[in-house]
């Protein structure tokens, strides 16, 4: 394959529009006669609803509609269970509006539509809900306690799911292992916090019987299919568009958030467009969250530091509902072995309901937790045996000639957890150079003489990416020569308008600037799933490649007939199609597109020129010869991976801790990343940067604090601290490239990678910095106050 553009760090096609303020996010679209909605949310974490009185709200001037559960008719159905699993024995999903009970603070109770958002919010104040508060489960510990109150009255023990998997024979290994350690490791809740909150705009067109919804989502096609089912419409009469999406990070790969049903319901009911835009406080209490897990892990190793076996039992906090099944804890279980040759491993998890916002994947999706556990193990082995931490990792790495490596577990997609390729030692070697690893001990010793506490942390990970089931793409050259490419995945910052254009440009011999990519619009492409699990470049990118190849081959067939040449002698370059060695006689892609459509009515500049060129006339026989298939220079293709591809990486940092305050600052941060072949290195580095920043937030500042009543006590940016430019250090990035053998591009996913190892390396670096105090970090995130408390405990 020609690779002029693939691999080039070209600037992004999407930027000029976004930089001019001409982006098109949901709330940027205002339609004529549009009304605005607001949601009344539960103020209790668990309560029985005794009565809802909306009468005062209904008569407020400017209010058009007030909906409670009883007004929804057959639409009052629980949201679908997206990923069922045999171990998920007690799935529960949410109603669009709570009917009998509320299960978390923020659950939707009523929906108001008014002339504008201000009046809609006034009306919320006039709705009187009578609640009977019930006992609240605010933490995993409480949920797991014997005789704990129940989140759902019909779910005994609050247990949604229980899954145990075993590889090898860990019990036998433990019975004779030279070293065994046990510990409890905790990760608390955090949230994705995209800068654009959620939003829905719905329009019902009575002339066409058509519902159009603009939704800030990562999965418009499944939502379209779902809305069609709910409203009994043919799928082609529902169009869902994810326009510009201001960040997603997983929290927008959900269906249905209540507002995604309520807003179109109201629009159909009122016959007017209705817009609902989430505000930040609502986002804190109603957009899905993640991370909370409690691990009890034991591990066995030998005198050389080889990890022999791991037994991990963990509790996973599902929040109040399980819309996304048990994907997150399954990923945790499968990610834990990481880059290490772990042949004896048992994993057992219990998914518990709590009265908190539901959990679904957030960038990293169960992986940071697993990596935290495994890398704590590696550090402990090094500590116990007095070995170098990097050396212990090297001794346990799967070697480059051991791929494919089957971890032995069933992955989140139901396929094997089978690593397709990797070179973990190469990554670690590069990281050591970036960090000046070998000289750090001297630097640390020197600093300690001055009373400063420097620490170095490293963490390795393997990340399952690029899972199925499939994605598709269509590539089309129109008669004016413009190239259009569309796919069902969405874009929320990943540069798909550029990277997919690079893939297509190489095949059609055009500049990526001349390829217009459309993502996330069911009118442009309506097969596929969405952007999640670091899969868009791998799965949709491969489909894009296959479709572009098909268009290229078709262009060659058409041009070969016109030039009376062999198709294999036809070339595409510089936007032209010509016979090899005779570039002076060429056609534009637009002219080939016209010829590919055997019409008598071709018109326009390109068609006139084509006529004047006196090329060969049509061959006898059908106007569309069978080898050309459909008319036009257009093709659709699909790609379905055999199983996920496994990216990897290693990050390291040097930090300085002030033990008097618990404050941590970064001296250096370095990341080495392997996502197979790189389509656009500038974009991949940007993804890594952003992931690291989110990881630093999640390791340090970002903890969602729920009190015993299940109230989120830090539901604002004043209190839930997202790192700013002042907190994030310069990040050095390097790449290792082990192509994936699974897909035609050799790529693996890159979107989530940056975030995954950060909590683990942060813990590693703190332990190292504060080793004179004998600290062992066992929880994340760790904000300065908590670190200070830990130090005080050690001193006391």
């Amino acid at each position: 394959m020609a690779t002029r553009w693939f691999g080039a760090p070209i600037p992004r096609n999407e930027d000029p529009r976004l930089l001019r303020g001409k982006g098109n996010y949901v709330d940027d679209i205002d339609l004529p006669e549009q009304l605005h909605a607001a949601v009344l949310r539960s103020t209790h974490a668990r309560a029985r609803i005794l009565n809802i009185d909306v009468s005062a709200a209904r008569v407020l001037p400017g209010v058009h509609l007030v909906l409670a559960a009883s007004d929804l008719g057959e639409v009052l159905e629980p949201s679908p269970l997206l990923v069922p699993h045999h171990a998920l024995t007690q799935p529960r999903t949410q109603l669009p509006l709570a009917r009998d009970e509320v299960h978390y603070v923020g659950e939707a109770v009523a929906f108001v539509v008014a002339d504008n958002r201000y009046i809609a919010e006034d009306a919320l104040d006039l709705i009187d809900v009578e609640y009977e508060p019930l006992p609240v489960i605010h933490s995993l510990e409480v949920a797991a306690a014997e005789d704990a109150p129940l989140v759902h009255a019909d779910v005994p023990g609050n247990v949604a799911a229980h899954l145990a998997q075993t590889v090898g024979d860990p019990d036998t290994v433990f019975s004779s292992a030279p070293h065994i350690e046990r510990e409890t490791l905790l990760m608390d809740r955090g949230a994705a916090m995209p800068m654009e909150c959620r939003g829905v705009l719905a329009r019902w067109d009575a002339h066409e019987d058509m519902l159009t919804c603009w939704i800030s989502t990562q999965g418009p096609i499944p939502i379209r299919n779902g809305l069609a089912a709910i409203f009994h419409l043919p799928e082609h009469k529902v169009r869902v568009i994810a326009p510009d999406v201001g960040g997603g990070f997983g929290t927008k790969i959900m269906m249905f958030y209540p507002e995604e049903v309520l807003t179109p319901f109201a629009a159909i009911h009122l016959g007017k467009p209705v817009k609902w835009i989430e505000d930040r406080r609502e986002h804190f209490i109603s957009a899905n969250q993640e991370r909370s897990q409690l691990h009890e892990v034991e591990y066995a190793f030998d005198d050389q530091g080889i990890l022999l076996a791991v037994r991990d039992k963990f509790l996973h906090d599902a929040g109040a509902y399980t819309p996304y099944g048990i994907i997150v804890p399954i990923i945790t279980a499968c990610t834990l072995p990481g880059p290490y040759r772990l042949k004896n491993y048992s994993s057992e998890f219990t998914v518990l309901y709590t009265n908190k916002v539901p959990v679904s994947p957030y960038r990293g999706a169960g992986r940071p937790h697993a990596v935290f556990v495994m890398e704590r193990i590696m550090d402990r082995i090094a500590g116990e045996l007095n070995l170098d931490r990097a050396e212990v990792r090297s001794r346990n790495f799967i070697a480059p000639d051991e791929f494919p490596w089957d971890v032995g577990l069933v992955y989140q997609d139901g396929g094997p957890t089978k690593y397709d390729s990797g070179n973990y030692q190469a990554g670690l070697d590069k990281l050591k150079v970036l960090l000046d690893y070998d000289n750090f001990p001297a630097m640390q010793a020197e600093a300690r003489k001055q009373g400063r506490y420097l620490g170095l942390g490293i963490a390795c990970y393997v990340e399952g990416t690029g899972i199925g089931p499939y994605e598709g793409a269509q590539v089309r050259v129109e008669s004016d020569g413009r190239v259009f490419a569309s796919t069902g995945v969405t874009t929320q910052g990943q540069a798909h308008y550029t990277t997919f254009a690079q893939i297509v440009a190489d095949q059609l011999g055009v500049d990526p600037k001349d390829v217009q990519v459309t993502t996330g619009d069911t009118q442009a492409f309506y097969w596929g799933v969405g952007t999640y699990a670091s899969r868009a470049a791998t799965v949709a990118g491969s489909a894009m490649y296959l479709a572009a190849v098909k268009v290229r081959e078709k262009a060659k067939l058409v041009a070969a007939d016109l030039f009376e040449a062999a198709p294999e002698d036809v070339e595409l370059a510089g936007g032209k199609v010509f016979v090899k060695d005779a570039p002076h006689r060429s056609l534009t892609l637009g002219q080939v597109a016209i010829s590919a459509n055997p019409l008598r009515y071709a018109y326009g500049e390109n068609a006139r020129k084509l006529m004047s060129m006196k090329l060969a006339g049509p061959r006898p026989g059908p106007a569309l010869p069978p080898e050309r298939g459909a008319p036009g220079l257009e093709a659709s293709e699909f790609y379905s991976p055999p199983h996920g591809s496994f990216a990897s990486g290693v990050h390291g940092a040097i930090i300085e801790v002030d033990p008097k305050t618990g404050m941590v600052s970064f001296v250096k941060y370095a990341a080495v990343h392997d996502c197979g072949r790189v389509i656009n290195p500038m974009v991949v580095e940007g993804q890594v940067h952003g992931g690291v920043a989110q990881g630093i937030g999640g390791a340090f500042f970002e903890r969602l604090v729920y009190n015993e009543e299940g109230q989120l006590t830090n539901a604002s940016f004043m209190d839930y601290l997202i790192p700013t430019a002042a907190e994030i250090p310069p990040i050095a990035v390097d790449h290792v490239e082990t192509p994936s053998p699974l897909n035609p591009l050799g790529v693996k996913g890159a979107g989530e990678a940056g975030v995954i190892p950060v909590p683990a390396l942060f813990a590693s670096a703190i332990d190292d910095a504060l080793s004179p105090f004998g600290i062992r970090v066992r929880e994340m995130p760790l904000h300065p106050l908590r670190l200070y408390e830990l130090l005080e405990e050690l001193k006391g």
Binding site: L18, Y118, M195, G246, G686, I728
Partner: protein
């Protein structure tokens, strides 16, 4: 009480304002409680100014008010009466070319989803007006009122440095 409720609440009163936005003069009647951000976005349809938190922390809604960077979600439209507002749409003026700050953001990949970008560019504009040659540390400090969730700020800092350098070379005042 009953009587008071029947009166028009003070916050729904309307008021005439005159504002210049991106060089164009507007005279408009607005509700006194209308936020400046909502006025710009939904009354004047300058939707490049984004709203990320509505409590003045994230900086997405930053605009220039009489040349100074302010958060338009923390102000009422009526407070901008008689003032001059510049939003992201006014950055490149009528030029077809991007402003050097915008250009630098594209070249250095200083944006991903693009949602925080207009606010950041307005902040950078005000920053470089005050300090045409900021150090890395000054840049990071000045940017710390704007949250970006995508880029990790790395390339934003690089873009600001490049923009500052170009503007100095061109002797262009911002």
């Amino acid at each position: 009480m009953q009587e008071q409720e029947e009166e028009t609440p003070a916050f729904t009163e309307e008021c005439d304002i005159a504002v210049t936005v991106n060089g164009r003069h507007y005279e408009q009647r607005v509700t006194v409680r209308l936020l400046l951000s909502d006025f710009l976005r939904h009354e004047l349809h300058h939707t490049g100014t984004h709203v990320g938190c509505e409590h003045g922390v994230c900086g997405c809604c930053t605009v220039l008010l009489n040349g100074e960077a302010v958060r338009s979600c923390l102000m009422f439209a009526v407070q901008a009466d008689g003032m001059v507002v510049t939003t992201i749409e006014g950055m490149a003026g009528t030029n077809s070319d991007l402003h050097p700050i915008q250009q630098a953001f594209q070249e250095k990949h200083g944006l991903q989803c693009g949602f925080c970008t207009p606010g950041i560019i307005m902040t950078v504009h005000a920053m470089l007006h005050e300090n045409p040659n900021p150090s890395d540390e000054e840049i990071r400090h000045e940017l710390s009122g704007n949250i970006c969730r995508c880029t990790g700020y790395q390339n934003i800092v690089e873009a600001v440095k490049l923009a500052a350098e170009r503007l100095r070379e061109q002797n262009m005042e911002v």
